[in-house]
Symmetry: C2
Subunit: 565 residues, 2 copies
Amino acid sequence: MRLSRFHLATVKEVPADAEIASHRLMLRTGMIRKLAAGIYTWSPLGLRVLSKVEGVVREEMNRAGALELLMPSIQPKELWEETGRWEKFGGQLLKIKDRKDASYCYGPTHEEVITDYARNELRSYKQLPVNFYQIQTKFRDEIRPRFGVMRAREFLMKDAYSFHLTQDCLANEYRNMYDTYGRIFTRLGLKFRAVQADTGAIGGNASHEFQVLADSGEDAIAFSTGSDYAANIEMAEAVAPGAPRAAAMQALERVATPTQKTIDEVTAFLGVKPSQCVKTILVRGNDGLVALCVRGDHEVNEVKAAKLAELPGESMLADEAEIVRATGTKPGFIGPAGLPDSIPVIVDRSAAALADFVCGGNQDGTHYRGANWERDARITRVADIRKVVEGDPSPDGQGTLKIARGIEVGHVFQLGDKYAQALGATVLDDAGKAQVMQMGCYGIGVSRIVAAAIEQNHDDAGIIWPEPMAPWRVAVCPIGAAQNAQVREEAEKLYDELAARGVDVLLDDRGLRPGPMFADIELIGVPHRIVVSERGLAAGTFEYRRRGESENRSLSRDELARLFA
Amino acid sequence: MRLSRFHLATVKEVPADAEIASHRLMLRTGMIRKLAAGIYTWSPLGLRVLSKVEGVVREEMNRAGALELLMPSIQPKELWEETGRWEKFGGQLLKIKDRKDASYCYGPTHEEVITDYARNELRSYKQLPVNFYQIQTKFRDEIRPRFGVMRAREFLMKDAYSFHLTQDCLANEYRNMYDTYGRIFTRLGLKFRAVQADTGAIGGNASHEFQVLADSGEDAIAFSTGSDYAANIEMAEAVAPGAPRAAAMQALERVATPTQKTIDEVTAFLGVKPSQCVKTILVRGNDGLVALCVRGDHEVNEVKAAKLAELPGESMLADEAEIVRATGTKPGFIGPAGLPDSIPVIVDRSAAALADFVCGGNQDGTHYRGANWERDARITRVADIRKVVEGDPSPDGQGTLKIARGIEVGHVFQLGDKYAQALGATVLDDAGKAQVMQMGCYGIGVSRIVAAAIEQNHDDAGIIWPEPMAPWRVAVCPIGAAQNAQVREEAEKLYDELAARGVDVLLDDRGLRPGPMFADIELIGVPHRIVVSERGLAAGTFEYRRRGESENRSLSRDELARLFA
């Protein structure tokens, strides 16, 4: 591409609401332009990148045996009522009425449509397994769209849905998709982790998120220094300490802590470490309050807590009135020792390993010192109910955990029969009996990948694209071409040679001075820059620089040829 | 592709509302499945074809120097109000409210969005000319969606918009796009005509439609047998007869035609030919009624009539009461001879060349015989106001006209400054003065092309794809592979060889009997079929048949290799 025939419109100023690097850089490079809240036009520059990502996703999905189709964006209400999601999906569902007053939505996802397609198309187990995918525009009416295309309302998604006779077959395809996603993100040149994820409201048996690592990421993930273990922080198991609980050495002693309610206040006042304290949280259980006990340096993990049998599927803190009514004590002074018998005490594994600990005194203005489990405090059950922290042992026994930030760009789910059951999607098995199909679903945020890649790969000068998604791989930059015919001709020759070799090359023939020209080429993140100058030609060399490096190299034509062989 | 790993689901029965061949065949092959009225899922088979069409369109648009971008499908009301089309576009505009009660539409076209983009991005004449295009899903809320994807509500379109400083520059790009469209439809293997079209409500200076020829087409087009002249029938010029008007030979004579009102009745009664009669239509003019006179064997062309200065931009027939009031005569007996002076008489060129003609007597129950222009009947103006008929001379003087049916698949327009003016899209010219940009727009109905191609290319057995849009180019069909290892191995070998050579080949490894297998392969329209059979192998040959031909050919492996070199 000759840049003079392209539409490149970089800008210096960006709106103040562009809070993160990718949003700012996509606006500065002109990759996107806002049309309305959360709705963007992808410029020719932006679309070049988006299309490259799309291309890699398509190639790997095809290689994995998935079949591409294209479902409509506009979906009838009746279908969404069959799964109950017309009401349950919430405000993100953009509802529409047509000229005949029939109700539709702009598809935020396609479980309903694909399952309807499958129940009509798939009749026999012989047609299974099959995995249908599409790369298509979706709409979710985010209440607060922001971060550019990172959380847009209209966005490009790859969504795949597989159908199976058995759970084993589903598990196989799940593994196939898991591996395929790994290949996709590896090919795209991204640093990522596949993490165990909570299946949340979508339900099903297993789920992994693919997270692009970036400090600005919204999600926290825990990963091992010694293995490839990684999990969403909500899911990472906090294992029991290796050493058994020490024997009780101290006697139980009530101490006055008149105004000390928080762990920080209590530990400072009593001169103990937070890891020697037990923190007690009262939540609403199925049948009265439930006490959750973790070490003073740990936090309750609400996702884990919500799954306790004693809780109603969610973890809701009791309010002060409820606490006082159930215990006679104000929040801040509650502890497991001497708590009414009616309150189950669920103790985290690490807290359960403590001896001679500090905890609330169940009497306003007091704490206990020298408390011990069994002797002083009842344990209803030991369970993993805390968030992991850096330095925790990895659940797979190899290495310790570190915490990183990530941006979710992919998600694979084993849905089981949730949608197939609701929509009556069955096939006949080999005995001629109707069986509800097992389903998996597999999403990739294609447009979000572009933003995530920038979050992970940029510097003060602009974007540093991984090669597979760069708008061009190489930029040829002539200096003073207007004044020097040899420079112009050599630049053209080099451009033609690289293009003929299939290299995706850009010739900056706009006639700019070196400063603004280099600034643009760095801003838009072209991985390789080759400068053609009078001085270089006199020495028989070209000045080469890899984007992200600070050193130029003088390369001969042969050396350049080898670089882009 | 191995067919056993594909999802092919052909069906025998199609719904009764599938009225045309393409709709029936797309349902029978399973290319599309209806989700709601005018809303279809493209199956893996259908999408293969759609993607090939899309690929050709993209390649040729890129080659022509157009720049691909991607605009949103959801567009804000405010922008449509700037051009006045929020109200004017009519019921096809699907209006939407989001969760914050802001109004949007699902884009049926993108003039507003691209002009908004251009007014922000384009500042200087140095950035011009530029042609932006996208291939994107559109929605038009058709009141009566039908014919499958031929007139769907959700459909895939390529829309391009060019921006220019001058009309000359616009005319150049218009020619470039006209030529590009020719290349696209030629490459796709379609028989088509580029026809002059009415610019209609979109306005502007010039417009051509690209029509795929098919008997089922909704549009009538006139084309020359002696040149490449072609025009939409509304636009085709009816030229004046070569010979001058003959001298008057007969005297004017009033004859009683008590019940004869139509041309058929009058000519039968008086024993003259329709081409010797003048038919007179009274329409509503700017200032009272206007008479339009055409030969008895011709029809008034309403599009041409609407452009007459005497008419208010549309051609509306006067009703009986108006006619009686203005002439004292009932419809059926009106003629140019003796018509009140207040009524202008616009005479078609062919009618104006008549002498001694029959026409209405302007007295109930009578006609004139031996009428002559000037002597008996006033001519206000001679104009081209009729529809052309087969056998008319071509307006370019070469050959005569034939009439064909066509399906509109592309349309190019010179919009001029209509949208740029409304949205204030200006650039600075070389004198630093703001100039409203000139625009062109260029559409292709990508999904409609698929249906149009089928209308043009099918037989009783199914679709006959032009090679460039076939789902696969070649099908390898082994007979009795389950029983004969050699057949199986040779089929696999042939499949592998063709695939390795880059041929888009299908191996039908489903193990069907020849009848159902061939029926499927013919139905889905694969251009080349190669049968591998025990008998053929014994003779060292393969049975080859071109789709659409009735003869098999026995080809050796070498001959096959040459066929797909």
